[in-house]
Symmetry: none
Subunit: 204 residues, 4 copies
DNA sequence: CATGAATGAGTTTTCATTCAT
DNA sequence: TATGAATGAAAACTCATTCAT
């Protein structure tokens, strides 16, 4: 028994309860958006009283921001984990796509939430900071390989926007039934297509 | 004097007023989302009284659906207009991309609105139908050329999702300052990349 | 029919309704204080729906401030009206006391309200400004006559505090049944006592 | 922050804790009023848990009544202590004023609290009883000396209301910066003024 | 038809009180 | 006995919708 996870009456801990709230909020925000979700709804889905929410979060906005930061960081971590810094661009693209698809399949609600709440006006500075760091990393990667004549020459941001957009587009297509779920076959086809899109054409 | 454009006291017509409301709604919904926009706000921006809205639309949901259907159809029409049915796949891809970027640049609010309200729970059957017809057309196009061995082989929906997603990704990147505005140069680079992504690799 | 007092369905005007709200608020705030009064209570006593209040006032704080400013100004006006600027100090003291008691008898709730909300943290700058002007006037009066050796010498603010406090004390005593209602007899006795308190003793 | 917290660290007694709660409540109620103060706030300032409050007091109302009764009694005791029952009216007035001002200077929060919660609807019968006994004493004193032709003739309650009100007025003026703090000089001037107000005029 | 004041259910948030530990 | 997390009723405030004019 330690101060940071006191065990409660029902066997749950403080952290458990916060987790329940965050998880309920993720689900509802992903489904119905921020303004479309009422705090008591979150409370009910989390199995707590409405007032209890406010023992853990200062406001509804604080909840979205907590959810956003948590899952954006998770996504970033998923992509960064085992990233082949010393590999070639092809291997890095593979890792990036596989990691992103892996995250989207494992945490579809989180991915949906992140897409839906992207650049929302109620996100705070810290949330935007997390977002910025992801963008910066992507641009850095592209520029480095572009400069090394491995990637296609294109105005700043075009390749990054294309690749990220294409992945989101495919994942969304999966959710909405416009394509079969992300099978390994689909992933491979996608990856090859994207590689042909971004690599410098005169390269073999 | 005809039924569809009764002239009113102030010289305006029924259609004029409806137009004002739809245009105000488009702007606000694109900026602040459906739940983030109040009906009286729309009325004010449209220059009519709040109650007047309800002579033209049964509810707030009816407004958002009207806006969605109108601009989704417009987008579809833009892409279909002068479509080179008899041209080769390359020319068709060019037309598609140019038309879509053209629409996004000419009607940025409409494009933003459509992306933001994509698959929202308050969209009705008719809105979904419009969406479906767009998807069907895209898939038809892809399948035809895939079968003709012009396009890359990939599971159903992958190429369409990739291309559409990539375009949305680039346009968003422009809005959010992650890349320069959509210059002709950027469009050309994008188009070449996408063509390399979708064409059958062993084709020259 | 004029713009500033449009006649409504029930024959009432916009101003009438605002009046009802202010009057209901005065009564409740005087009785139960600011924090002790709920907005729906005000609405009910005013005979309007809770939401209607917010068509007339931006917030609960805006209501107290409107009530405060209105009645503080009225009190000031009552005291200033027909003030014998050219009379001697005795006549001025008489006028001041008579006018204040007159106000307190005619508008007991307003007087009670003003005493109860004196210097409350939710009063805004404008309310404080009104208060300041009253204090400044009182001090100016005292200093002038003190200097002319008509009034007793005392540190700044003592005589003003004493006189105002004494009046409030007597009025409160009346409310709380500690003395008979403010009969003319009581007023005369009070006035003579106060005059003996403030005049310079060696004066006859 | 309270003086009793150190004591509680080693062996805390029931009375110690009750003291802490009452002292915290006094401070907060005096500053922010009854409805403006939250029970958990009192608990925090008292250095106890919110639930603990309810082992000592049945409700928030019980706290405010306990505070009221305690300090009203204290004030009464301060005035009664060493009261010159055998002295003349002048000496008694002096004692009364000096004792009241002494209390107000020594326990400004208590004095402010008592003024602020005077006749509040949440005060119970016992609180009102304490208040009554003070009033009765004051009236008894006045009537006795009036009858002895020492004090001015005035309807029942007028002189008591005047004197008490004047004192409160002066003390408030001090709090609000309308006069210098209660210096001995100010007290003397006040006392002389009040004596001239209440004594029978034809008496020297 | 157009208006916009009025409505009241719904929103987010607070807080006096309880109760399992 | 003391705790403080949990509660849920009630607070202030918003807004989609109605309806008398």
């Amino acid at each position: 028994m330690n101060i940071h996870s006191l065990v409660m009456a029902d066997g749950s801990t403080r952290e458990d309860k916060k987790e329940c709230i965050l998880s309920a909020a993720l689900e509802l925000f992903a489904e119905k958006g921020f303004h479309g979700t009422a705090v008591p709804e979150i409370a009910q889905k989390a199995g707590v009283a409405a007032g209890t929410i406010y023992r853990y979060f200062a406001s509804k906005e604080a909840i979205v921001n907590a959810v956003y930061q948590r899952h954006k960081s998770q996504l970033l971590a998923s992509v960064m984990a085992d990233f082949p810094y010393d590999g070639n661009a092809r291997a890095q693209v593979h890792h990036f796509i596989a990691a992103t698809f892996g995250f989207a399949k494992k945490h579809p609600l989180a991915f949906k939430f992140l897409e839906l709440h992207h650049h929302a006006p109620y996100l705070d500075d810290k949330s935007r900071e997390v977002e910025q760091s992801v963008v910066a990393m992507a641009n850095g990667f592209v520029e480095q390989h572009e400069h090394n004549k491995v990637l296609r020459k294109a105005p700043q941001g075009v390749l990054a926007g294309l690749v990220w957009g294409a992945m989101v587009g495919l994942i969304r297509a999966g959710w909405e039934g416009r394509c079969t779920e992300l099978t390994p076959k689909a992933e491979i086809a996608f990856e090859e297509a994207i590689w042909d899109a971004v690599r410098r054409p005169d390269t073999t």
